[in-house]
Amino acid sequence: MLIADHVTKIYQGSGVAAAAVKDASLTLTPGELTVLVGESGSGKSTLCRMLAGITAPGAGSVLLDGRSIAPPARRKDRALCAAVQMVLQDGKSALDPRFSVYRSIAEPIRNLLHLPKGEERTLVASLMEQVELPAELRKRRAAELSGGQQKRVCIARALATNPRYLIFDEATSGLDVLVKEKILALIRDVHKRSGAATLMITHDMDVALYMADRIAVMRFGEIVENRLYSGDPACLTHPYSRLLLEKMDPYA
């Protein structure tokens, strides 16, 4: 299990210290899809970066099966790097503009799996199939793809090492609403097939209600509610959660 244990992160900016994350705890369990909901500035991105092991917590610890994964653990431990993967918010800027789709997806394979060329090619092809990217896009560059396709490439990259922990930062932001639906379906499918622990960060409660096995709500750096989601929004009782639920309704 990947556990954030009472983590705190304070950022120093022009004389003012702002606590991005305050004493937050979150556990990611294999097979469970957790959605972390919060407005922008709630600290959810910072928390997920600590869970991914790319930001060090100021206080508290992030443990994977009991061992701390704070930097520079990822750089030193290839197995750790392969086990915990993250898909960044903006698909376009997360891809090297000079790399072809093939090369982008092959990168984690080359760095972390060291497969012979033939097996690498097979794996890339099967990943592209899994994320529903037509094989002929192999040689294209990021700029030539649509927003949805770029996001699929990023997802394929994250899946390459068959991670046990998969984190999505605002998986559908900037995507058209029909594309969003498809990407969410893809994420759900990927989650089921891999049995991984999946974490999705979003500001949209609708996404949480649609996708989650577990919903955690974050506000001003703190996790105010964390529940298993049965399908009934009424199970969320914290006033802020209820506020977010209300805001979903355009007639509110």
Binding site: E39, S40, G147, D176, V177, L178, V179, K180, E181, L184, A185, R188, H203, D204, M205, D206, V207, A208, L209, Y210, M211, G231, P233, L243, L244, K247, M248, P250, Y251, A252
Partner: protein
Amino acid sequence: MSELVVDNLTITLRKENRALVSGLSFRLGAGESLVLLGQSGCGKSMSCRAVMGLLDRRFAVDGSITLDGTELTGLRERERSGIYGRRIAFIPQNPMTALDPSVPVERQMGETLSLHTNLSRAQRRGRLRQALAGAGLGETERVCASRPGMLSGGMLQRVLIAMALSTGAELVIADEPTTALDVVHRNEIVDTFAALQERGMSVLFVTHDFAAALRLDGKILVMRDGAVVERGSTREVYALPRHEYTKALVRAAALSKGAGHADR
């Protein structure tokens, strides 16, 4: 009675002879709101830019766009300044790009006002503050003294809305005003536009966010590949979509309501 009439608007990309918008027609009266809804590439932003007269020579514009009978396509420079900025205000998707980052807000708003009206300095000051309050901005003094970089995206949008209010614009065109905002703040900004309607302004709203359209609660045109696939009152179209595409958009707009849970 200020009415925007778009009649059979067709926009073609000259080089490829490809129609980006075909046969768009609608009427927007004073105090009414109209949402152009669709995904990227459907032509809604292009149509907006055509109304704003912002299309360059790469595009061929056919059909007519009239504001109170005045034809907007093919206006000359001098005539343009009387209309754009004064009678028609534009709120772009990224408000930061519409303002000079180095000049305090009050001065920029004041400039626009002095360009389009004959008010004295004191009168301008008063009107600006009224407008800012009307746009839902609380600390008017602080906002006036700030530079655009110090204000959030949402606040900058309200500044632009205030500028529209202050010049007494008849028509406000907003390009994806909710896209950059959290769902939580969406309703508030839409309410600000609704408040403009109550003052008699027409609101033309371009978005892919059905929920924002519903909140605005006016008329809607659903666009796809440059053409209108469905039109009507937003509530009715949402409740009873007829076109397949509209049905898909309705379902995708509130996934948890429509489809329930992805698993079930």
